[in-house]
């Protein structure tokens, strides 16, 4: 039971991190109609910015701020230089151009920082474990990630539903020409949305980089999971991204923790564990396939 609670919390934490990634991706797709493969690169930029600033200043929190700023700046720069020219192109061109951006980003990072992973140390404030009700010991930093995810989710709902910027974003999603005709500077709006998504990805990168390590290519597996999240949740929906991220995070973590054991109960021999872990590694994709069978547009997506 203790193991289960621990793993469920891990799943929640993983899901929140995926949400930070998927939120930007789904916003950019919903508002600009752009598929951005380079979103994972912005995640990596955030992680490296955090590691570098934290090492230079000795402050992890300055590092986190740096990850937001650096990823947002990189996002805005990329939007103005490249992405802006892709909005009216078809998805194929967008895929190829952002694939090219990945190559540039990852080789650029390798050139700047080398191939060796960097490690971040937690500040004393966030290090250590807390005892939860029920006697479960859980790392404080992972709890903090869950908290940050929840705050970001609330913040985004507030931003989209209650502020002027949010109204413009939703209007831009509905009808680009009309809101341009109403005098909204659509180009600036797009840059802001892109930078916002990038900042969230950068924050996710910094947080995950702290748990694991910071290295070139760290953004790519996460990017694909974020895709799975928004396929499940429905493209363009923040709510869908949140639900999808939690589903994917929970399924993946719990599947990997529990399936090998479950298989061992019904199957004999040493094969059981390997079959179990092989199936566990495919579980979220099976989940995705099921969602596609029932609702091809995703849980909260709109048709067409």
């Amino acid at each position: 039971m203790v193991l289960f609670i621990e793993q469920a919390l891990n799943g929640l934490q993983y899901g929140m991190m995926l949400f930070l990634m998927a939120a930007g991706l789904t916003l950019v797709f919903g508002v600009m109609g752009l598929i951005n493969l380079a979103h994972g690169s912005l995640y990596t930029v955030g992680a490296f910015a955090c590691a570098w600033v934290a090492a230079a200043t000795g402050s992890f929190f300055l590092g986190l701020v740096a990850s937001l700023v650096a990823a947002a700046a990189a996002g805005a720069l990329v939007e103005v230089v490249v992405i802006r020219r892709l909005y009216h192109r078809d998805h194929l061109d967008q895929v190829l151009a952002t694939f090219a951006l990945i190559l540039v980003f990852s080789e650029g990072t390798r050139w700047l920082f080398g191939s060796f992973p960097l490690y971040l140390t937690l500040p004393p404030l966030l290090a250590g474990a807390v005892t939860l009700p029920g006697g479960v010991q859980y790392p404080l930093f992972r709890l903090a990630i869950i908290g940050i995810g929840a705050v970001v989710a609330l913040g985004l709902f507030f931003l989209i539903n209650r502020t002027r910027l949010g109204i413009r974003i939703r209007a831009g999603e509905a009808d680009r020409e009309m809101i341009a005709a109403l005098g909204v500077d659509i180009e600036r709006l797009y840059t802001i949305v892109f930078a916002l998504g990038a900042a969230l990805a950068g924050l996710a990168g910094a947080l995950v980089g702290t748990i694991q390590s910071v290295q070139v290519g760290m953004g790519e597996p996460v990017l694909i999971l974020a895709f799975v999240v928004i396929i499940i949740g429905g493209i363009g929906s923040i709510k869908g991204a949140l639900i999808g991220a939690l589903l994917v995070g929970m399924t993946d973590v719990l599947g990997k923790a529990l399936l090998p054991g479950l298989f061992a109960r019904v199957m004999a021999g040493s094969d059981a564990a390997t079959v179990g872990s092989a199936v566990a590694s495919m579980l979220i994709y099976i989940l995705m396939a099921l969602v596609l069978l029932v609702r091809p547009q995703g849980l909260y997506g709109q048709r067409g």
Partner: protein, 326 residues
């Protein structure tokens, strides 16, 4: 059209000429490079059928490339050990005959494509891109976590599979096999594109509703095109495994999917010889830029970016000075 046919012939002749000259000068390495380009071109020809003519932007073709490779590797390694691959429902022995391996590789890739396509084609546009990518990634994770055939380390086999009457270990003879298959695939794909099926497929790409109105069912057409496309790419995967005598999950990684897509787009989407031009230029760039800088992929990225932004018809479009005819 006539100019494009000429260009196609010229590109193939250039590739063949390079190998003949390399053979006379005893440059085995150049022949291997040309073989690699030929195999990549074949993979691209497969994808081009779905992507160029069917409008199906599959970001998961590495899955089929990898399946072709794994079928080859698994059959060859069992043949080497003299054991059966499976005993249920019937006994399947390993094989080291290319003529036996190719159909198996193509069948396996086709079967996977039938399943993946049937699900993915329920979606369209950007969903389709992401769904195909995700399924390919699923297979690659499966290959990594399945230790029987090497897992993450991959699977090597020591002798290249054999072809009646030829010594496949001689580079130029293996190149000849790959080249012949590429030519066959190009002929097949030009026949398919001009057939009733191909025309209906292109009609469905250009206007889904209009095609449906004249009695074409886009879903079935696309699924068939997707399966054929995957089978050709699977064949390329089999050849690639034999070229290296090694398969690994990297063959299924999304970088590979991206690269196959790059061959097609670099050359020109929906052009018969587009993938050939694209693959040849890609291998050349890899070789030349690799000599300039350790970080050659960044240069490649910038070049790709320039092509997307400023020459959307790809190299063939540039050569013919016409807009993309898709």
């Amino acid at each position: 059209m006539a100019r494009e046919t000429l260009l196609t012939l010229a590109i193939m002749a250039a590739l063949l000429g390079t190998v003949i000259v390399a053979q006379m000068m005893g440059e085995g390495f150049v022949i291997t490079l040309a073989t690699k380009a030929t195999i990549f071109a074949l993979a691209g020809v497969g994808l081009n059928l779905a992507l160029g003519y069917g409008g199906l932007v599959s970001f998961g073709h590495a899955a089929f490339f990898g399946i072709g490779g794994y079928v080859t590797g698994i059959l060859a390694s069992h043949a080497g050990a003299g054991t059966a691959v499976a005993t249920l429902p019937f006994t399947l022995m390993g094989s080291n005959q290319m003529l036996g391996i190719w159909p198996m590789a193509m069948l396996a890739a086709g079967a996977a494509a039938l399943l993946i396509g049937a699900l993915s084609l329920r979606t369209s546009g950007v969903y389709f891109i992401m769904v195909t990518l995700a399924f390919a990634q699923m297979l690659s994770y499966f290959a990594i976590s399945w230790p029987r055939y090497g897992g993450e380390d991959g699977l090597s086999f020591y002798v290249r599979n054999s072809f009646p009457g030829l010594n496949t270990l001689v580079p130029v003879q293996y190149f000849a096999i790959c080249m012949a298959l590429l030519v066959l695939a190009l002929i097949a794909s030009s026949v398919i594109v001009r057939s009733r099926f191909g025309l209906a497929l292109q009609a469905a790409r250009q206007n889904d509703q209009r095609a449906a109105a004249v009695g074409i069912r886009p879903y079935a057409l696309r699924l068939v095109a997707f399966v054929i496309s995957a089978m050709i790419t699977g064949l390329a995967g089999s050849l690639y495994a034999d070229l290296n005598r090694f398969v690994s999950p990297a063959m299924m990684s999304w970088h590979m999917s991206g690269e196959i897509m790059v061959f097609v787009i670099l050359g020109g989407v929906g052009r018969l010889a587009g993938p050939v031009a694209g693959a040849v230029v890609f291998i050349l760039l890899e070789h030349l830029l690799g000599g300039v800088s350790e970080y050659w992929k960044a240069l490649l990225g910038l070049l790709l970016l320039a092509i997307v932004l400023f020459a959307p018809g790809g190299l063939i479009g540039l050569a013919l000075r016409r807009d993309r005819h898709v």
